[in-house]
Amino acid sequence: MTQPATKLTIVVERLLEPVVERLLEAAQIKGYSVFPGGGRGSHGTHHAYSAQVVREFAIVKYEIVVADRAKAERVADTLISQHLTHQPGIVWLETVDVLRAWKFASS
């Protein structure tokens, strides 16, 4: 019934949204989810609610489930090496069991 797949999680500032989405596009990844939030890391605290004078610094989390783990790793590597050296952000991978595996196979 279920089949193993890889979930790539990317936590970055909203500022990087276009970057992340361009990377996914380039990797032919057609599906992802995104959740607004906040957090704390080496670049200080990002509030999750209440008046933020600078909206673009808010935290978003991308969750991207793909059948092909190698592809997820490639996206993660590119993002980290090209964009996360100075910008806040973290990335991790997990193994999940998906239903309807065809929904996660790209092209």
């Binding site: 933020q52 909206r55 673009e56 100075h86």
Partner: protein, 333 residues
């Protein structure tokens, strides 16, 4: 001495103006640990309405203005914006404890303009009965964009000189990106609609009457935010705090001086001179930070956002009475 004796009571009186009183109130609440929260959506809505109002008002005014009278103030605004960043480059950035990129980004924000400070100044001038050409607030982008562009270009040169690989940003891209930010977008939209549409009725029935009230709530947010970010500022070099404390006065007086030149040459109004001074004194709080964050990623936002939001903006707001008093001395009514 005499000047100070004149200024002090005027200053204390101005602190009672609701605009500044709400700012101080917000700081006080934050300092006392209040859990009052203005929702983000409300904050954004207020800023958009205020900037639409400023733009609409300016646009309606420009319809009747002689375009030639705008040229000199617009040019001086650009000079101020870029000039302030250059001054920062040869002072702040030279200091030993300051990382070059942090210094340039900070100078960029202080060259740029704070929409909320501008709005506050407009209300306080009206309260004081000091008239200004209604298109003056439209000088905002003429000062804001040159400042940000200068800071970004300086940072790029610096990277190249220090041998770091920097992806060159083109000038056009930086300017376009600035204009696409929410603050300048709202202002520009208001301007265009004020110019080509006939929004006078909705301006008079909605934007104008809500301006003061929404500003009072915005000041509350700015005050709470300023206090909340002080903690962040404490973690970076003290020179940033010192710069943020002193620079607004230097920049404001520079602005006042150049405005005075325009007054003499083209009859720029006293109120216009004051607004120019305050725009120069102010530091960007909404649109500048994301632009700089994207273009100078090596700079530490705790330094520049902290310096601008925690110290620069309140100092600029609290110094508005200073320029009002100065105008009273320089332009006797």
């Amino acid at each position: 001495m005499d000047l100070l004796a004149d200024l002090l009571p005027a200053f204390l009186r101005q602190l009672q103006q609701p605009t500044l009183a709400f700012l101080l109130g917000g700081m006080l609440l934050a300092a006392l640990g209040s859990r009052l929260e203005i929702p983000d959506a409300v904050y954004k809505f207020i800023v958009i309405v205020l900037l639409l109002k400023i733009g609409l008002g300016a646009g309606i005014a420009i319809r009747e203005a002689e375009l030639a009278t705008l040229l000199l103030p617009a040019f001086l605004s650009a000079v101020l914006g870029a000039g302030i960043v250059l001054i920062g480059r040869i002072t702040l950035v030279r200091l030993p404890s300051v990382k070059a990129e942090d210094g340039m980004a900070t100078a960029g924000l202080f060259g740029a303009v704070s929409a909320s400070t501008l709005a506050a100044a407009m209300v306080m001038l009206e309260q004081d009965g000091l008239a200004f050409e209604a298109w003056v607030p439209a000088l905002y982008p003429f000062m804001d964009i040159p400042a940000l562009v200068t800071a970004i270009v300086l940072a790029q040169w610096h990277r190249q000189r220090t041998g770091a690989a920097a992806d060159r940003l083109r000038l056009g891209t930086i300017i376009a990106e600035s204009l696409r930010g929410s603050a300048l977008s709202a202002l520009a939209l208001g301007l265009v609609l004020g110019l080509v549409a006939r929004p006078d009725a909705v301006f008079a029935s909605f934007y104008e009457p809500l301006f003061r009230g929404l500003l009072s709530i915005l000041m509350l947010v700015m005050g709470m935010e300023a206090y909340a970010r002080l903690a962040e500022l404490r973690r970076v070099a003290h020179v940033f705090a010192a710069y943020a404390l002193i620079a607004p006065f230097v920049h404001g007086l520079l602005g006042f001086g150049l405005g005075y030149v325009a007054h003499v040459l083209t009859g720029f109004s006293p109120g216009g001179v004051v607004l120019l001074a305050i725009m120069a004194a102010s530091s960007s709080d909404i649109s500048g930070p994301p632009t700089l964050r994207a273009a100078i990623p090596m700079a530490n936002p705790a330094a520049y956002v902290g310096a601008s939001t925690s110290v620069g903006t309140p100092v600029a707001l609290l110094s508005i009475p200073l320029y009002l008093a100065l105008a009273e001395l320089v332009f006797p009514r």
